[in-house]
């Protein structure tokens, strides 16, 4: 994002999930939000934790030096969690939020230009968590 010649840090997202969830989350979010840039899908299909981490590294290394990345992972166990944590440990411009869901991803798209990189992970976690209810239809 460039405003009148002032370059500010771009925050990108990498959605890392089992199977095809990541690409479908992003495709669905784009239907709601419109086309988006800087949002990447990574699947654990056919990957070892090590090759999965390499794929995430490749995406990050294609970004600019001022870019930061929020990795949204489906859950912290298994190969997605392992790969994500191993990348985060090596990089200062990466934060992780687990439990990705559609409200969380939409909140990322809505807020990334306005919320600082330091605050964004907690806000996304809170948005994702707040969207989960045992719905009591008597209360609606």
């Amino acid at each position: 994002m460039t405003f009148v010649g002032i370059s500010i840090k771009m925050i990108s997202a990498i959605v890392v999930t089992h199977g095809r969830l990541a690409q479908e989350f992003i495709a669905t979010a784009q239907k709601i939000y419109g086309n988006v840039k800087g949002v990447y899908a990574v699947s654990n299909d056919d990957h070892t934790p090590q090759t999965l981490a390499s794929e995430i590294d490749t995406i990050i290394e294609h970004g600019g030096h001022d870019d930061a990345f929020i990795i949204m992972v489906d859950f912290l166990g298994g190969s997605c969690g392992h790969a994500t944590l191993s990348v985060e440990r090596r990089r200062r411009n990466v934060r992780i939020v687990s439990g990705v869901n559609l409200p969380m991803l939409l909140a990322f798209l809505n807020k990334r230009a306005d919320v600082s990189f330091e605050r964004l992970p907690a806000e996304l976690a809170s948005r994702g968590r707040d969207s989960i209810h045992a719905v009591d239809t008597d209360q609606i």
Binding site: D46, H47, T48, P49, Q50, T51, G77, S79, L85, R89
Partner: protein, 158 residues
């Protein structure tokens, strides 16, 4: 030797193991036999966090695992032993651990690997190692989760 299941899986502890195999094997202990993980605090914490709290999990190097198994240190327990690679399985067997059967649960694509099954990709080195294991009398049983059929793949590596 109380090894109820020995499994090669490059993801070590993950959903297929915890939700698929643990309820069937009912191990008293999970042993992660991997030199790298045994030496890495964050990986030990990470994998331990994936296991239900009632199942103790031990993280040993291949050498330590072999020593415990050969000495029968866990004779009163049923163990689920996880190995990251064919090479680690070979090291364990070479160190004197007599495995009759090895579950091949996940060797994913790496450069130079060819597909034997959708969840089993082997490099020429893996194939040579698996062949040696077969020569030692090990049955290689490819099965990702217990609800899918097991397939003996000995003939695919010799």
């Amino acid at each position: 030797m109380p090894v109820k299941l020995a499994r090669i899986d490059d993801r070590l502890i993950h959903g297929q193991v915890v939700l698929g195999w643990v309820p069937v094997v009912k191990p008293n202990r999970i042993v992660v036999a991997c030199d790298r993980v045994a030496a890495s605090e964050w990986e030990r914490k990470f994998y331990a966090s994936c296991v239900p709290p009632e199942i103790p999990t031990s993280f040993f190097s291949i050498e330590e695992t072999a020593r415990h198994l050969v000495a029968d240190d866990y004779r009163s327990e049923q163990l689920l032993v996880l190995l990251e690679s064919a090479e680690d399985a070979w090291k364990l067997v070479n160190a004197g651990v007599a495995l009759k059967e090895l579950n091949v649960g996940g060797l994913h694509y790496r450069e130079g690997a060819i597909e034997l099954l959708p969840f089993v990709f082997v490099t020429p080195e893996d194939r040579a190692i698996l062949r040696e294991l077969v020569k030692k009398g090990v049955t290689l049983s490819a099965q990702d989760v217990p609800s899918n059929p097991a397939r003996v793949i000995n003939s695919l590596v010799v």
